[in-house]
Symmetry: C2
Subunit: 232 residues, 2 copies
């Protein structure tokens, strides 16, 4: 999921603490102890180029964005990924809401992973060769997998950052969430093939599942019967 | 979006504060001031039945889930919705990542809204007729639009809750986010038609955009040229 998905929701501790400055609401904390408010925002990410998975989520953000303002006060963030956001629709049946089907984004079998850690800027200008190379890899990968990013306006102070992972919370099956061992997570080899092959495979799979989906839909409409697309 | 989307990410203040209990990391707060950690989790929701929009997000959660445990300590939550999660793929071009296209989930034109407020349980058993009716409406709507929910295991202490909205942060265009006026938000009439009509319209639109998408893809493959699907 960290390698294949396009985007997730980045949760931060909000610095917009004036949201609840409403004297009418007696159930909220007084102004002497401002409420702690979470804020979730949509972020595209990569963990490397198509043919290499580092396991580290790299983000491309602007200091003008609310989330990045929040991070200057508290850089502990969570990045939430869900299989429901996969663009390969049809293949993630456990995520698809449908009459007579079991699929739902809230179903445990529609996997989600919450990555918690500190958001740290990857700075190419601090005279450390390793960080400069990491920045080059990350920015190139972001632009490769999110082509529009390279056109985003220059005056928005874009920068590359990464999540230094401290915790991974995974729900992918009935029976409750698992806490992943971060060291073991980083030791996994996805066995990725060459970038061109991956693209071809993804495209073929996508086309195939779309065709299947459409055929079944048309069949269902013709016969006015519900065809179970979920394989249950 | 609050009426049409299926799921969002619910951000809470995590009660799993032991994540950063690592003495090796000198940059983190000492144990005397535990770090404040955000946690984002996937939640399906509705704002009413298909043919009625209340504007209030209703959730179906279990007290066994991490988010609901968090809420018992701090019930201030954010629910993050993105047009990228729309199941009507093809129609949200501004969200679709593609070579030579502008679309991306992080693009401002791929709209996202962050709803912040207190998560409050809607309890049918507290002898208030209004709340009992609200519960009936909410649970019926959840089961109507998320059919699998009605089959979820009885022993998981499922309950209906709603977000009492205090703030709405919307990014849907270049030029930065807007803070919506909550009273004005609730005064909007979506002019929804009968439930059957809505379903038909959605299905037709979905089929149409899928057909367009596939035709263009096939065309592009045949001619080995990039066809711009984004209309730019």
């Amino acid at each position: 999921m960290v390698h294949t998905l396009d985007y997730g929701v980045l949760s931060t501790i909000s610095t917009r603490t004036d949201i609840f400055n409403d004297d009418d609401d007696e159930t909220l904390p007084s102004s002497s102890s401002p409420p702690v408010i979470p804020f979730g925002n949509v972020y595209s990410f990569v963990d490397g180029p198509c043919n290499k998975s580092t396991g580290i989520p790299y983000l491309y953000g602007s200091s003008m964005d609310q989330s990045m303002k929040d991070v200057t006060s508290n850089n502990v963030v969570s990045l939430t990924l869900t299989e429901a956001s996969s663009s390969r629709d049809g293949s993630k049946n456990s995520c698809v809401v449908q009459q007579g089907g079991w699929g739902d984004p809230e179903m445990p079998t529609c996997a989600r992973v919450v990555i918690t850690g500190k958001l740290v800027r990857v700075d190419p200008n601090n005279n450390e060769e390793e960080e400069e190379m990491e920045f080059e890899m990350a920015q190139t990968s972001l632009f490769q997998r999110h082509p529009s990013m390279s056109y985003w306006p220059d005056d928005h102070d874009w920068f590359v950052s990464k999540i230094v992972i401290s915790d991974m919370w995974l729900l992918d099956m009935f029976g409750g969430a698992s806490i992943l061992d971060v060291d073991r997570y980083f030791s996994i080899d996805l066995g990725l093939v060459d970038v061109v092959d991956v693209d071809v495979v993804v495209k073929e799979e996508q086309e195939k599942s779309r065709m299947m989906m459409m055929m079944k839909r048309h069949l269902a409409e013709q016969t006015k019967m519900t065809v179970n697309l979920h394989g249950f």
